[in-house]
């Protein structure tokens, strides 16, 4: 949440310059080419969905309280 606030506050500057504000890195001057950005939109969302699904599954498998006490793995 706080990270989001910071991101919002700084935007579009990504990394401000303390010597000369004009030299700051912004979203524009630090970005990659527009072709690359558009190209990535073809596969990135698919990957992200896969990631989200596997994560949800992983967490659901391991929810619940830990059964106390060791079981010989230590």
């Amino acid at each position: 949440m706080m990270l989001g606030g910071a991101a919002f506050a700084l935007f579009p500057v990504l990394l401000p310059s303390s010597t000369d504000p004009a030299l700051s890195l912004t979203v524009e001057n630090a970005a990659t080419g527009s072709f690359a950005m558009t190209a990535a939109l073809r596969w990135w969302p698919i990957a992200f969905v896969l990631v989200a699904v596997t994560f949800v599954h992983l967490y659901r498998t391991f929810r619940g309280k830990i059964v106390g006490g060791g079981e010989g793995h230590y």
């Binding site: 990659t32 080419g33 072709f35 690359a36 190209a39 990535a40 073809r42 596969w43 990135w44 990957a47 992200f48 896969l50 990631v51 596997t54 994560f55 599954h57 992983l58 498998t61 391991f62 929810r63 619940g64 830990i66 059964v67 079981e71 010989g72 793995h73």
Partner: protein
């Protein structure tokens, strides 16, 4: 070479060489496990399943070390090679991001399922999870190789106004002709590592003859590993090694000349088998050569002219010809040895005498470290051969480092990594030897022995 450049090169070289020791076993063992599980489905007795389980225990430990040493690699493009990242990030950022998103998640999430789901999944489902881990690891292998292939043979890019390269075609990047054969050859190398490890394990257990070692499971390990090792070693020579050589001959003539120690251009060039290159004098001392073979291999004609280093301007030659020459010859020498030893062992296996031949079994056990050497030598050949270029023809290595990171700072972190990795190496060897010494059946109480083991306890508890 100025000291900062040297430090940054050593920094990357050291960390990536150490890191790659682990993924090559990961990618090599994964298909072994799949094969053993397939065999287990078709044969009722437990030997294949036991063999697969042993490999899985080793796989789990190896995997964690691979991940832990792999994280610094992604960071290092930025920390030590910032100018390179600024220049080429627009292109290789794609493949690296793909690796991070797709392959890692696939491996990590199915790994737990595979390692501990055996009792809860049907044999087929368990095999499927093993296959998913194999596919994930080989997929991340492709993206990394595609990245290096682009550096060796840039495609699909356009020069941007600010001096960087930008992506112009994603399909060109992913289907780089260099990438295909480099991938096959790299994966083949990993397979050699995994197969020799498998065969070596089987041979070790057969030699050890402990009462609680299942002899049939050990024999299964030996057989499956040996056949895979034989096939993989042969394919490394032909077609993948040969095809890689052809690509180098066509697109990187300076590299070929240096690799082969060809100082002077000549027709009907001989293949040097052994010999020490003397770069100052421009010759090789005490050689053993086979006349005409180099021309035949590279240009398909006995009297074809092969470009020597004399025709390459000094600043376009690899900066360490001798090391490149040795890396290449060590790799090929070992590769030849692998073909010979697997050939001999397979012949003995066919005649039913392998399990009683202590000499051959010992050789197989002692051979286990050598694929690691060969793989490392191979990568050194590729990367030293690419010099003086970082991106072939587009950016020199000397222009790619982080300009603002001094040699002193680089040395600080290099020493830190060396110390940390020494500890990791000892921990790894201790852990692996513990698992191996417990034998094929393993101690029933100490099944896969990493934190991933917790999944078994807790997933059962959650039921």
């Amino acid at each position: 070479m100025d000291s900062a450049l040297l430090v940054h090169r050593l920094h990357f070289a050291f960390t990536v060489t150490f890191h790659y020791l682990f993924p090559q076993l990961t990618m090599g063992l994964a298909p072994m496990i799949v094969i053993l599980k397939l065999l287990a489905l078709r044969h009722p007795d437990a030997r294949y399943a036991q063999a697969a389980r042993l490999l899985a225990r080793l796989f789990a430990i190896n995997f964690v070390f691979g991940v832990v040493t792999g994280i610094p690699m992604e960071f290092q493009f930025g920390t030590n090679w910032a100018r390179f990242s600024k220049f080429a990030g627009g292109v290789i950022g794609q493949t690296l991001a793909m690796e991070g998103m797709f392959a890692f998640f696939l491996e990590s999430s199915f790994l737990g399922l595979f390692l501990f789901g055996e009792k809860r999944l049907s044999p087929r489902a368990h095999l499927a999870s093993a296959f998913a881990v194999f596919a994930g690891s080989w997929l991340s292998g492709y993206f990394i190789v595609a990245t290096d292939a682009w550096m060796q043979h840039p495609v699909g890019y356009a020069l941007a106004a600010n001096g960087s390269v930008q992506l112009s075609s994603l399909s060109a990047l992913l289907c780089n002709s260099w990438a295909f054969w480099q991938y096959v050859h790299t994966m083949g190398g990993a397979l050699v590592t995994g197969a020799f490890a498998t065969a070596g394990l089987g041979a070790y257990y057969l030699l050890r003859k402990r009462s609680d070692d299942d002899a049939r499971a050990s024999a299964a390990l030996l057989r499956v590993g040996l056949i895979a090792a034989g096939v993989a070693s042969l394919c490394q020579l032909f077609p993948s090694g040969d095809r890689q050589g052809q690509l180098i001959a066509r697109h990187q003539p300076a590299t070929l000349a240096a690799m082969e120690g060809l100082f002077t251009t000549r027709a009907g060039a001989a293949l040097v088998l052994i010999g020490q290159p003397d770069t100052e004098e421009g010759r090789i001392d005490n050689t053993l050569e086979v006349p005409g073979v180099l021309s035949a291999l590279t240009h398909k004609r006995w009297n074809a002219s092969v470009t020597g280093l004399d025709q390459i301007p000094r600043d376009a030659r690899p900066d360490n010809v001798a090391l490149l020459y040795y890396s290449y010859h060590v790799m090929v020498g070992l590769g030849t040895f692998f073909i010979l030893i697997t050939g001999l062992a397979l012949l003995w296996l066919w005649r039913g005498r392998l399990e009683r031949s202590r000499a051959l079994l010992w050789t197989l056990v002692l051979a286990v470290p050598f694929p690691y050497v060969a793989n490392t030598a191979g990568w050194m050949t590729a990367e030293l051969g690419r010099q003086p270029w970082l991106v072939y023809g587009l950016m020199r290595t000397s222009a790619g480092t982080s300009a603002r990171v001094s040699a002193g700072n680089g040395l600080f972190s290099l020493i830190g990594f060396m110390g940390l990795y020494s500890v990791l190496a000892i921990a790894f060897l201790l852990l692996m030897s513990r698992v191996i010494s417990r034998g094929v059946s393993g101690d029933a109480q100490h099944q896969p022995t990493t934190q991933l083991a917790e999944r078994a306890i807790d997933s059962r508890a959650a039921e």
